[in-house]
Symmetry: C2
Subunit: 363 residues, 2 copies
Amino acid sequence: MQIFKPTFILDPEIIRANISFMAGKADREGVQFRPHFKTHQSVMIGSWFREAGVTKITVSSLSMARFYALAGWNDISVAFPVNLAEIGLINDLTAKVSLGVLVEDSAVLARLIRELRHPVDLWIKIDCGYHRTGLQIEQTDEILKISRMAVNSPLIRFKGILTHAGHTYGAPGPDEVKRIGAESIEYMIRVKALIKEYGECLISIGDTPSCSLLESFSGADEIRPGNFVFYDLMQLYQGSCNFGQIGGIVACPVVAVHPGRNQAVLYGGAVHFSKDRIKVGGREIFGQIVLLNGNSWSDPWPGAFLVSLSQEHGILEGDESLIARLSPGQILGVVPVHSCLTANLMRGYHLKDGQPVDHMQGI
Amino acid sequence: MQIFKPTFILDPEIIRANISFMAGKADREGVQFRPHFKTHQSVMIGSWFREAGVTKITVSSLSMARFYALAGWNDISVAFPVNLAEIGLINDLTAKVSLGVLVEDSAVLARLIRELRHPVDLWIKIDCGYHRTGLQIEQTDEILKISRMAVNSPLIRFKGILTHAGHTYGAPGPDEVKRIGAESIEYMIRVKALIKEYGECLISIGDTPSCSLLESFSGADEIRPGNFVFYDLMQLYQGSCNFGQIGGIVACPVVAVHPGRNQAVLYGGAVHFSKDRIKVGGREIFGQIVLLNGNSWSDPWPGAFLVSLSQEHGILEGDESLIARLSPGQILGVVPVHSCLTANLMRGYHLKDGQPVDHMQGI
């Protein structure tokens, strides 16, 4: 495949192996696998999940729920506090598919019940320590009130409690990820005990680091990881994946080489990678360099990183031996720091053999 | 206009005033005004520039040059090191419009000359201190070599030297911006003196902070600011604009309110704003809150900022009096930190009266 400009290249074997790994783990552990599709946002990649037996999915917006409903998915949770401003779309979607929504406020639920025209699946969003959204266990009255309203409303199918332990993303290593993951499940079990009088209550958990690393999900009923489909540098440096599990890189043309400062300039900037960054060896980096070999990519070039980004430019810094082999017009690979945001900006992919792959933002 | 999800709202009066301000300043100072269109990426907003007398523009990629060539612009500089991987597109474009390209490497120019089929406008990219791309004055031999090759090649129209003093963006305040801006022009004048034997050589400069603040561009022949069309928090807190010059905000639904921690959750995250951030009062922030009043927005609510972003979520932190008036379903405004990246992600706008405005990424 000839590369003209930044191009997101996927290795379908790695991605299918990541899907099998997580589906197999869910199966072994006896939990429902409801993968988050916000990372890939693709109908084609969605079909690979379907081939692995997946029938229920998670998305991050009602627009994305509509996209996947049109693509034939009919059991979709929107893992985002329900947006009352889009009640019209909720009523459209619930007429056609099983739609799951998240509530963390009884006033929101009251309005939802008033304006809803078809049944909806309802989850109470619980904050297990990430402190972004959700109710904490101390807010027992509100949790009980929502549960009571839910079971008494004919259009509400009360599913259970849902959390996202997003604080695993900041954990320094696998042990800490596993500790946070296990604690989150314990926390959810305690919340569930509060509302046992309201009948069946599932526990849904969701972050890629703990779903990747935990050996047991005991107590949980559903997992919703998303990032694992591609993984990325954030997961690699945390120890939540190995390099061979990274399913995609961005191919970028070299446009300038500065041997005097061991730098080169790539066509590949903030409009391709986002500005998400991680620290490696005390330094903030925006991507790591790999060489492209025909239809594949090499291991990372040691110590070669994108060290700054502007709108279209990426500044690569590497050792002399790398810089010496670069010339403008050449194509290098960049492993993204955060594959979800990179995919969202790139709005489309190509498989290693050149076949184009859709992305919701590019349609 | 009814808002359902994050929506970029523009005030056309402010934007037209920003355009008049910069066009008038260029006129008074006797420099060519070649605005950068990468900020708005819009045909409609481009037409407002045309109404202000603009006929020459700057873009950040060859794809964007093609977009504006199709929209009827015929003098377009691509302020990015020429990407040899897109030589086919360069040959297509130069057949139809005056295309300006940047070179900072004689080997790149040699290949360009070999593969070019129609005349191109050529600028030598100079690094006046930002150290992202370009040649420094000490690289005299390379600057002379490129100039010589350019004037001797029948398909090259040598225009001059071009720089982007991107280090003004990191300057702590107006005085430092002006100092860097003036130094950059001085530097360019010294580079120009090196190549005076090669005939006419224009000096093109380009960053919004110094174009906004410098009282004189004496010595320069062309200015290429882009961000000033909307401005943003980065420019506001630096002192390169005032609040009344900010031409757009993102309207975001409130989806959850957490009075216990003086926070609320907005539908508006990294896929809308990017992860660009600035420090305000020692704290990293991702946006500032305004109230929406009918067709307009208020001054910023004091001390109310987006303090963290995930893919779709923005966490607002404010004082009790703000949090007390919020409820889910309501719409708030967010002033973006970096309007270029926000516009690129939002991929479309609405004027205050509801009229949709195109963006290249949304077409």
